[in-house]
């Protein structure tokens, strides 16, 4: 049995949190909360079981709680500035703007869909693992994945009406009619 120390999972958790929240600070806060919760609940973790899966489960629950309490949106929207995000990404210009687009589209997905899509692709988890982590049936994972992929495709294909310094605040306004269309 390979026992990876908890530290070995932090880079993955940070990256996933970054994509989930779209914000550098909110992401690390989420990772910090996850680790703190791991500390307070470590007795509930059966040593020898999959630590990575457990940490992602803790993080998912924390994230969803934050979303339900309206914390994430309220906290995130004023703090995200695409110029800040741009400074974070070290890549050639084209892939840089693509990464920004991608992140922007991700943030326009409903939270549960974004989580599922990221766990499957970025974290390369199986559908069964994602079902356990998000606490839903595999069928629900599949339908969320379908909706997320369909939606991402639409969003990425949309003509880019993005001035360089667009704030996410305005993105949320843009997102509102789109969300209505989904119903």
């Amino acid at each position: 049995m390979i026992r990876q120390p908890i530290v070995a999972h932090i880079p993955d958790l940070r990256r996933y949190a970054r994509a989930l929240t779209g914000d550098v600070w909110a992401a690390d806060d989420l990772v910090q909360d996850t680790l703190e919760r791991a500390c307070s609940r470590w007795r509930l973790w059966l040593a020898g079981t999959d630590l990575r899966k457990w940490l992602f489960t803790l993080m998912h629950n924390l994230f969803i709680n934050q979303v339900r309490q309206g914390l994430t949106r309220a906290k995130l929207v004023p703090t995200i500035d695409l110029e800040d995000v741009a400074a974070e990404l070290r890549a050639p210009d084209t892939s840089l703007s693509f990464a920004i687009d991608l992140q922007r589209c991700l943030l326009r997905l409903p939270d549960e869909q974004r989580a599922v899509l990221l766990l499957v692709t970025m974290e390369e988890m199986s559908y069964q693992e994602v079902a356990k982590i998000t606490g839903v049936a595999v069928g629900t994972v599949m339908s969320r994945l379908s909706r997320a992929r369909g939606r991402m495709r639409e969003l990425l294909d949309e003509p880019k009406e993005r001035p360089a310094a667009t704030k996410l605040g305005s993105n949320t306004q843009m997102a509102a009619p789109v969300l209505r269309r989904m119903k």
């Binding site: 908890i6 530290v7 990256r15 680790l35 973790w45 059966l46 040593a47 020898g48 899509l117 992929r149």
Partner: protein, 268 residues
Amino acid sequence: MTNSVNPDEMHALVDKLQPEAQNLALETLAVQDPQAAETLASWLQQRAALRELHRDVLAEPIPAPLLQAAGRFSEMQHHLNASWRQAGIAASFVLAFGVGWIANGQFVGNQAPSAVLAKGMAQHEFVRQASFAHAVYLPEKRHPVEVTAAEQDHLVQWLSKRLGKPLKVPKLSALGYELVGGRLLPGDIGARAQFMFQDAQGQRITLYLGAVDQKSEKMDPGETKFRYEADGQVPSFYWFDQGFGYALAGQISREKLIALATLVYQQL
């Protein structure tokens, strides 16, 4: 979507196939169902892009507060504390407990001898005395114990009185070990007790217990640490709980010893 491929199959194509197989699927679909092929191509692109997103974060140094939190978690894994006993969820307890011990044994085993010594001379001394007592009385044919199991009530009363703490003899019959008896031994700051158990094949194990000098201990007296000691002549598990030390020793496999130590811990 009027796909020849249903959505679940499409996801599987994207998430589970090797690139060569994906290319083949793309080519096939392009002929059979161009619309599905387009969807597949788009999803594949998405997946590839998402796998690259924020990849630079992976290489970033981990911020100190996160490292600290992780450090606390690792510490806790190695230190089972007594409140767990009160929380006591039996099933998870036994499992996590045993594995925790194994981890702990490895952890200690990796440390330099000086680091182990620094953990507290009193504990070190306790373990040394435990294995000494084990080695002395184990082979004893005629007088392995002072008071035999036949007089168990008397044995418990007597040792409880001498150690200044109500004792209980753990029942290990579930794992095939019956009490042979016990004896009183001298310790650093008072009396110590040794219980001996034996299985049907005559294999003996001993449980050594008694107060440990707290003054020279660095750890919180309420804290329990579990360690596996295999360096000496006799493999043993030992732990400390509220100023009292326990050492279970025997020439048996580590797994068996864990199981027995778990039983002991649950009953004390």
